[in-house]
Symmetry: C2
Amino acid sequence: MANEIRGLLAQVSDRTELKAQLGAMNVVHIAEELEEMDKPEVVKVIRLLSKNKAAETFACLDSDVQQGIIEAIADSEIGSIIDELFLDDAVDFIEEMPADVVNRVLANVTRERRNLINQFLKYPEDSAGSIMTIEYVELKSEMTVASAFAQILSTGYDKETIYTCYITNAAKTLLGQVSAKDLLLSEQEKTVGEIMEQNVVFARTNDDKEELMAIFRKYGFLAIPIVDSEDHLVGIVTYDDAFTIQEEEATEDFEKMAAITPFENDYLKTGVIQLSKNRIPWLMFLMIFGTLTDQLTKLFEDSLAIMPALVAFIPMLMNTGGNAGTQSSTLIIRGMALDEIQTSDIGKVLAKELFVSLQCGIVLVIASYVCVIIFGEGFMVAVTVSLAVLATIVMSNITGTLLTFGARALKMDPAIIAAPLLTNIVDCGALVVYFVLAKAILKV
Amino acid sequence: MANEIRGLLAQVSDRTELKAQLGAMNVVHIAEELEEMDKPEVVKVIRLLSKNKAAETFACLDSDVQQGIIEAIADSEIGSIIDELFLDDAVDFIEEMPADVVNRVLANVTRERRNLINQFLKYPEDSAGSIMTIEYVELKSEMTVASAFAQILSTGYDKETIYTCYITNAAKTLLGQVSAKDLLLSEQEKTVGEIMEQNVVFARTNDDKEELMAIFRKYGFLAIPIVDSEDHLVGIVTYDDAFTIQEEEATEDFEKMAAITPFENDYLKTGVIQLSKNRIPWLMFLMIFGTLTDQLTKLFEDSLAIMPALVAFIPMLMNTGGNAGTQSSTLIIRGMALDEIQTSDIGKVLAKELFVSLQCGIVLVIASYVCVIIFGEGFMVAVTVSLAVLATIVMSNITGTLLTFGARALKMDPAIIAAPLLTNIVDCGALVVYFVLAKAILKV
């Protein structure tokens, strides 16, 4: 895809014309193109944009490009961009900057904004408070619909959304909410209090963002109000941020389940060193843990010496156990992430997994029996291997279930504990099951 | 949590009072409680709700509860609920119903609606057309802002969103869009054409929903217009549906990567038979595929006979290979799902994975060498095992990368191909690498 802005800079020399053309472009599109351009060009474009559009574009840029811009522009320009940002975007930006940039930025914004930013930086990571913004429309219940509109018109331009408005009393306690649609479709002389919805679903500043996401998922709201411990309205989180967070949370879970420490950036934008750092500890831990399985094999050296053919089926058994356990734990981990499965459901889930594993196991017993016979082993070996398959699947599903619920009960992340560790544990289990059966059936 | 509606039904006998109390409740909340109640109670509550609220609640219910309601109510009531549903919800509902219910429903809706439903059922599964809805606000560019509002007020109540309005010409070609915010903040006598945004980002009816999701992710729009092959506006998809789809797509990928055929319902609501059905084919396929690894072991029986201690490290090597390969493939699969990695990036990704695997491998060489020595094996075995670890990691990362890009190039789903199959392939590779090194170093 050709870079449209680079084309504009090359062809259009008239500044007013350039401004107009850039002004008609979508900010996400501008940001995307700026990320491919050189710093002087980027700064030039940012200066050609209106104050508001420059701030919106700035919010869409990667933090390294943001840092480049801040380092290249004058102090007064910093103030004008940062003051114009929505507060949540300003906080997101500041969180990614090195100390010297943060100091320079904070020195050049209004005092009020500096205080707000500092206050927001104090909310715990991943809390609703840390991701909310303060640019919401606040109405009073005694206002008429007409005066509510007058207020929206006078202040709405700088709000993150005007489509859901919040009603508070003098103490800032959240009393209700009203949609712009309801305001538009109501008679002008009605009061906001008459048409507002009083059963407002809200979150608290200290709530984890996962709880917030559960609300977005359940209700499909455009925005959710955030209140402090005294029920005072202090911010909102809008659907577009929720959309991004939902995507990030899923990506984090994919990474954790693949034994990778989650990282922020796109894969292609992340350096080789960073990618290795986020993988090595897990590979190392799992490898060392895996040598325990190796030691376990030694316990059965005598059996293997009597019947070396048994070795051949170890990888298949371990794989099947790993696959079955992963099936169980993945479904449960995902169910927990989406709030569909609670800790109290353990009985139901265990029963389900027991039945599922018996069904899967019985079908696979037949298949594995046939496989072993085809590969030329005798009847007794085939019986041993196929029974080991059944036992391994049951053991793996139950282990997958217990490990996931166990992690949750210990307030650890099931995605980290249950997924990568599971394979190792199930490997050991499969080995024990296999050799116990072999000793019993084959008398080795 | 106590069931609020059941409490209301027990305590409040006055029908008007019941209606009022139910009317004040959120439809998602009503639907949640109805799912725990008996069919006669559910039908009673549905009848107490206003036409509009009954339809909204109906849209939030699981398909088995929906079916129960339809089977219990009169033909005329069916028409009133289904006609009131947003078209996308009606189509979603019909798609889940058995043929006899579909026939009864279609016989009781207006002819216009029947035609529309039939038309929507024809869009390919997972296409933008199959998930869009037709309840959008359509304006003309010559309208003034004042007359645009008049139109929104007269038709807006039945629209899925009034916050983004679309401008078309007489031929229904999409010309632009305007937000309710821009309309509110503009002078009344301006024309819609003057204030509309002309660079509209849209999708086509036949676009895959993944492309649509990429647009939502990138721009954070409230709604995206859908046009047909002749650029005529035919529908919109709103953010709340996008939110649900994003969640479902991630869940599907989790399931595929855990070797489970994706299924629609929550885990707890899915029967044991269904859960087994969605797992058995994969377990079976992977097990049979896994016996190939077993056969491969046989090729190295001679080496194992000479040095049985080598067996002990097979599980650890296979695990490490599986873990390393899964790390690579998971990051690439997720990057592809989020449109961050394109097929053309294969060179960059391969280079990255090669360097990452060398870094990881070198660190793990040292650790595995120490492990083997600690476990009492000799220097030469330790050298063999630790070099096998390095070679296995490099081989696994490259295999994970190639398999993922290969699946994508063959238009297959990387999540299905690269994740479950990978472990088996990497197992074979690890085995070959190990014994080739053992033959070379230990002369077995």
